[in-house]
């Protein structure tokens, strides 16, 4: 009920048992293509590839993917419009406004879809241990893992407390709603401290020595997947540079 749609999709994805490294390579490769290649046809190809892979082989629900990709749209639209308004000599559109705004939106949507491909197929608890290989300190990975676990516990408290406040008319006017939100934030903060303290006790009993060492699942890398990734990315680069180069 209080789950996050993208996270739910990641745990249920058909790519759940693929190596997080493989998926990160694919996704980050697509992100770089989206950013660096000409918007036509580079961003379009990246966007289509990310969507097709997510909805096809990774079997991410279209609804989840669509909603998530729509979220940053407000920022992208406002940001792109603002960037092509010209102030000099009275406000007006820049001469190449449509083209520049289109390029911005294209890069952003393609990049967003590429990140979302990783987000909807790989749970954080698979990704975080992989950060160790990038020489992120163990302490940081452990703090982030606890954050990931506790944010669901706290989100549930947040929703329940808010519901209880609403039932008792705590959000019936703006003024009351403000006061209730302050109480809500304080209640969630005290719960987070309480949770941490109780987990400390619980984990001491489980023999916690120095840190929260866990054993990630074995998710072996696939040569075929890697080969397909490299081939696909190369194809996107070549096609984009040929077509985009010819066009521009």
């Amino acid at each position: 009920m209080t789950g996050l749609a993208v996270d739910d999709a990641a745990w249920a994805s058909a790519w759940r048992s693929r190596s997080p490294g493989d998926k990160a390579l694919l996704s980050l490769g697509l992100v770089l293509c989206a950013l660096l290649l000409p918007v036509w046809p580079g961003s379009v190809l990246v966007g289509l590839t990310a969507v097709a892979l997510a909805l096809g082989p990774a079997r991410v629900p279209a609804r989840t993917f669509g909603r998530a990709v729509r979220l940053p749209l407000a920022f992208v639209a406002v940001g792109a419009l603002t960037s092509v308004v010209q102030l000099g000599g009275g406000p007006g559109w820049a001469p190449d406004a449509a083209q520049r705004a289109g390029a911005l939106v294209g890069h952003a949507l393609a990049g967003g879809a590429a990140v979302l491909l990783l987000a909807t197929t790989t749970p954080m608890s698979d990704l975080l241990p992989a950060l160790r290989r990038l020489r992120v300190p163990a302490a940081v990975v452990e703090v982030a893992s606890v954050t990931y676990r506790l944010l669901f516990v706290l989100l549930e408290s947040l929703h329940t407390i808010r519901e209880a406040q609403t039932a008792r008319m705590g959000h019936s006017t703006v003024r009351r709603s403000f006061r209730s939100s302050g109480v809500l934030a304080a209640a969630v903060l005290t719960r987070s401290w309480d949770r941490a303290r109780r987990l400390q006790d619980g984990l001491a009993g489980r023999g916690m020595v120095d840190g929260l060492r866990v054993l990630p699942e074995v998710l072996p890398s696939s040569r075929r997947f890697l080969a397909a990734t490299v081939t696909g990315l190369t194809a996107i680069v070549v096609v984009s540079l040929t077509v985009g180069g010819a066009a521009g």
């Binding site: 009920m1 408290s157 329940t160 407390i161 519901e163 209880a164 406040q165 609403t166 039932a167 008792r168 008319m169 705590g170 019936s172 009351r176 109480v183 809500l184 304080a186 209640a187 719960r191």
Partner: protein, 286 residues
């Protein structure tokens, strides 16, 4: 307190992992009576209660008060919250203020009542729940059972016509259960309609005027001994048969209990047993 008739018809609520939580659930809550809502964990009891309280909007179907559908507008929901109050299972997520009195006053203050009226309601609610002595205590010092009763007092202080309680006895020891049920009896006597959810079939049999079982996203409602004697239904709902009924039926078969409705609890069963039986019989047991 005026009585209102709360009902739900054909509620359908979303999906968790591919199955509908509620799939055409209908329920009619008799005014001024005690209804027990039974179901296994995850059966949708809480979801149904949240729909009835207005906290959750069903995908289809409607909740009605005296036959009129509850409007989902801000104003409609606010009016509904003065008729129906829901107390959730975990008291910790409902006690968000520092002291007991402060927490119970949250609702009445939001109703815009003047201070003396608020104080009166707080005192009255705490008294009804049998926790009048806790008013000035910090909420985090209370025992689990006390926290549960203070959370209920917070809802009672809104003076709802219908009080919905999600698992009010879960986690309580026998003495605390007895105290909680006594508090609910006082509420009933003061005119409230009380609905509680539980998976304790014996509790439901002993306490309720009427029971409703949530099973397969729908609701089967009826008299306690009818519904709780239906083995096929109970099996589908992953509930046990109340042992008072199991044993009572066997004793009735043996001719040790009079024909007719079976006793609903231990004292009833003990009282209904004969005072003496012929002594030649125990040999028939191995």
């Amino acid at each position: 307190m005026s009585h209102h008739h709360l009902a739900a018809t054909g509620l359908v609520v979303g999906y968790t992992r591919g199955t509908r939580v509620l799939d055409g659930a209908s329920l009619s809550i008799p005014e001024g009576r005690r209804l027990a809502l039974l179901g296994a964990n995850g059966s949708g009891k809480t979801t149904l209660l949240r729909c009835l309280s207005g906290a959750l909007e069903p995908a289809r179907g409607q909740v009605t008060v005296d036959g009129v559908a509850v409007a989902r507008s801000r104003r409609g929901l606010q009016a509904h919250r003065q008729v129906v109050q829901l107390v959730l299972q975990d008291p910790d997520d409902q006690l968000f203020s520092a002291s007991v009195a402060q927490d119970v006053s949250f609702g009445p203050l939001n109703l815009g009542l003047p201070e003396p009226a608020v104080r009166e309601r707080v005192a009255e609610a705490l008294e009804l729940l049998g926790v009048g002595g806790l008013a000035s205590r910090p909420t985090h010092q209370l025992s689990f059972g006390e926290r549960k009763r203070v959370a209920i007092a917070g809802a009672v202080a809104m003076r709802p016509c219908v009080l919905l309680l999600d698992e009010p006895t879960a986690g309580l020891d026998p003495t605390a259960v007895t105290e909680a049920l006594a508090a609910l009896a006082r509420l009933g006597a003061s005119g409230s309609t009380v609905v509680l959810s539980t998976h304790d079939v014996d509790l439901a049999l002993a306490w309720a005027d009427e029971v409703a079982v949530v099973v397969g996203g729908q609701v089967v409602q009826g008299r306690p001994d009818d519904v709780l004697g239906d083995d096929e239904l109970l099996a589908r709902a992953r509930l046990d048969r109340p042992w008072t009924l199991t044993l009572g039926a066997r004793l009735q078969e043996l001719g040790l209990l009079p024909a007719g409705p079976l006793p609903r609890d231990v004292p009833g069963l003990l009282a209904a047993l004969p005072t003496a039986v012929g002594a030649q019989l125990p040999t028939s047991a191995q």
